[in-house]
């Protein structure tokens, strides 16, 4: 009798499974509360958000989102009454607080900066990374191990330590506070991850495919283009998502090297303030909009997650 088909002697008992399940679900629920709270706060009115005791049941409002996308000025009730009827929901909400919308806030441009810089640097890092990974995977490169270690070691430097000379260099080159400068920097940081991950993925593609293609008359370059790349799509996509997440989330460089035109969302969101302190519903709204893409990516990536976070060291 085989042990695996019949009742395995080492399978956990039903009881121990149940206890394990309860504990894990308990942890998951507690750890998700801060995120649910962000989401809930984004739909509260400012008074509701700072109520004591904290309100779990409340009247939902999109005031936080209105405040996130606009700047407002306080006006006298007489002035507000002299205006025409309110245009749209946000206008109406704001007027109830004796304010009028003065213009758009900086959130949208900062968000767009985040998109440009994240996608730009991801494209460059994955492009360079794929080429290098193929080079390291298929050819005898002298000192390959040392070069690979060098590529990885660039990631060990504290970001602030790198930022000091980069700050000076960018000032000389006129790259301070430009999207190009940030794309270059994030590409350099991400390329180490891209090379290590992609080398793992390409190593797994049998060499025989290319060799067969080359016997059929393809050159090495054609074989790379037509047989290796299509097979590596999953790996390339997973790597791209990891690079994208890093660039999207990055704060230290962005906070020190950008201040205006090229500022990304992470250093901007904490600066959203209302009258008398931080406007928490607006901050929560900005945080929610900022986090949703990452949530989607995490779910898409869950099978490759382990590989990505260990630089390909653990593959399951």
């Amino acid at each position: 009798m085989s042990l695996t088909t019949a009742h395995s002697v080492v399978a956990p008992s039903t009881n121990s499974k149940r206890i394990a399940g309860v504990l894990v679900v308990g942890y998951a629920l507690i750890s998700i509360v801060p995120l649910l709270w962000i989401f809930a706060t984004s739909f509260k009115t400012p008074p509701d958000s700072i109520a004591y005791p904290p309100k779990i049941v409340f009247q939902p409002s999109i005031e936080g989102y209105c405040n996130l996308f606009t700047t407002r000025t306080r006006q006298t009730p007489e002035y507000i009454n002299s205006l025409g009827p309110a245009t749209g929901f946000c206008d109406e909400t704001v007027r109830k607080r004796n304010m009028v919308i003065a213009g758009p806030s900086n959130f949208l441009p900062r968000f767009v900066n985040s998109l440009i810089i994240a996608f730009g640097s991801t494209f460059c890092a994955v492009f360079l990374g794929t080429l290098s990974a193929y080079g390291f995977s298929r050819f005898k490169v002298p000192l390959a191990d040392d070069l690979l270690f060098f590529i990885l070691s660039t990631r060990m430097m504290p970001p602030i330590a790198v930022a000091i000379p980069i700050y000076l260099m960018y000032r000389e080159l006129g790259l301070s506070d430009t999207a190009l400068g940030m794309i270059l920097l994030y590409t350099a940081v991400n390329v180490s991850l891209a090379v290590w991950l992609l080398k793992g993925f390409i190593d797994e593609i049998p060499r025989e495919y290319e060799e067969a293609a080359m016997i059929d008359g393809y050159t090495r370059l054609q074989a790379f283009w037509r047989t290796v790349l299509p097979q590596a799509t999953t790996g390339i996509a997973a790597t791209a998502i990891f690079c994208l997440i890093f660039a999207w989330n990055e704060y230290a460089f962005a906070a020190l090297l950008t201040s205006g035109t090229a500022q990304t969302a992470p250093p901007f969101i904490p600066t959203i303030i209302g009258e008398g302190g931080q406007d928490w519903p607006a901050v929560a709204a900005g945080t929610t909009i900022f986090l949703v893409p990452i949530l989607v990516f995490t779910i898409l990536l869950r099978k490759q997650l382990l590989r990505g976070i260990t630089f390909g060291a653990v593959r399951k």
């Binding site: 695996t4 002697v9 080492v10 499974k17 504990l23 894990v24 998951a28 750890s31 998700i32 801060p34 995120l35 709270w37 700072i50 109520a51 004591y52 005791p53 904290p54 360079l128 080429l131 290098s132 080079g135 050819f139 490169v141 060098f150 060990m156 430097m157 504290p158 602030i160 330590a161 790198v162 930022a163 000091i164 000379p165 700050y167 920097l185 590409t187 350099a188 390329v191 090495r220 370059l221 054609q222 989330n249 990055e250 704060y251 906070a255 020190l256 992470p266 904490p270 931080q278 901050v283 945080t287 900022f290 990452i294 949530l295 997650l305 382990l306 976070i309 260990t310 653990v314 399951k316």
Partner: protein
Amino acid sequence: MLNRTADNVARATPEPLAKKIRGISDKGLAWLFISPTILLLLAINIFPLFWAIYLSFTNYRANRPNEVVKNLGLANYRRILGDQDIWIAMQTTAHFVFWTILLQTVIGFTLAWLIDRKFRGHAFWTTIILVPMMLSPAVVGNFWRFLYEPQIGLFAYAVSFVTGIPPTNVQMLSNVELAPWAIIIVDTWMWTPYVMLICLAGLRSIPEYIYEAAEVDRASNWRQFWSITLPMALPFIMLAVLFRGIENFKMFDMVNLLTGGGPGSTTEVASITLKRQAFESWRTGYSSAFAIILFVAVFGLANIYVKALNKVKQR
């Protein structure tokens, strides 16, 4: 498309030249593929590193670019090693790294061990647990300031609900005793899933037949855990500790937004000190020297650790 162009060019050119275009030698192709990455890293990582090394021997200040730069020799390094504040910052960092890694390893491993029982729905709940680590530490850290607010914050409310302490007295961020723990809690919340995920891979890599053999030998569950599960998962646990150790030694974003190093300098980890010296006091030369010392420290410790890790793996 690229290949077709290459083909056409190759067909139209005389034989020896065609060979060169069609079949760039493997060696040539290898360098063609690898050199752009190396060049980029040289320009954006290595060149600045050497610049920082040069600056660390000078009294250069980035906010006074026109002043004459004086060579100080090793004076900056000597001053850092004798600077009381730097040593306090290093102690704060060590405290932070030690406790975050301890908590994350214990909780992370326990969770992985529980998830490995494969109860119904374990895949779904694992994904839920993984979410915090994918988020931006800066943006989420910033929001924790709200959760930590005395009285109106959810954390303060929960603590007072459980312990009975008035919620206005739960001042996680402004109390000198509590602030270091405030950052440890957020870091643990964020990164326990990371350790858990790696440990889970370790547990799943243990072949079932070993447990079957142990069962035949009537080894107790307790015995099985200590002589099979833990030793075989150890390389994975150590790998997780390595990655978390490096990351937390460099910790900047979450702490900068939560406490900014305060109150006073109770949560001033090394990166915060570095930022204050470099971008607030503008002591560029001095802070470069500190940066170099930090880099050498991470690099040296990581190297020693990797050697130990390889020894455990070989056992």
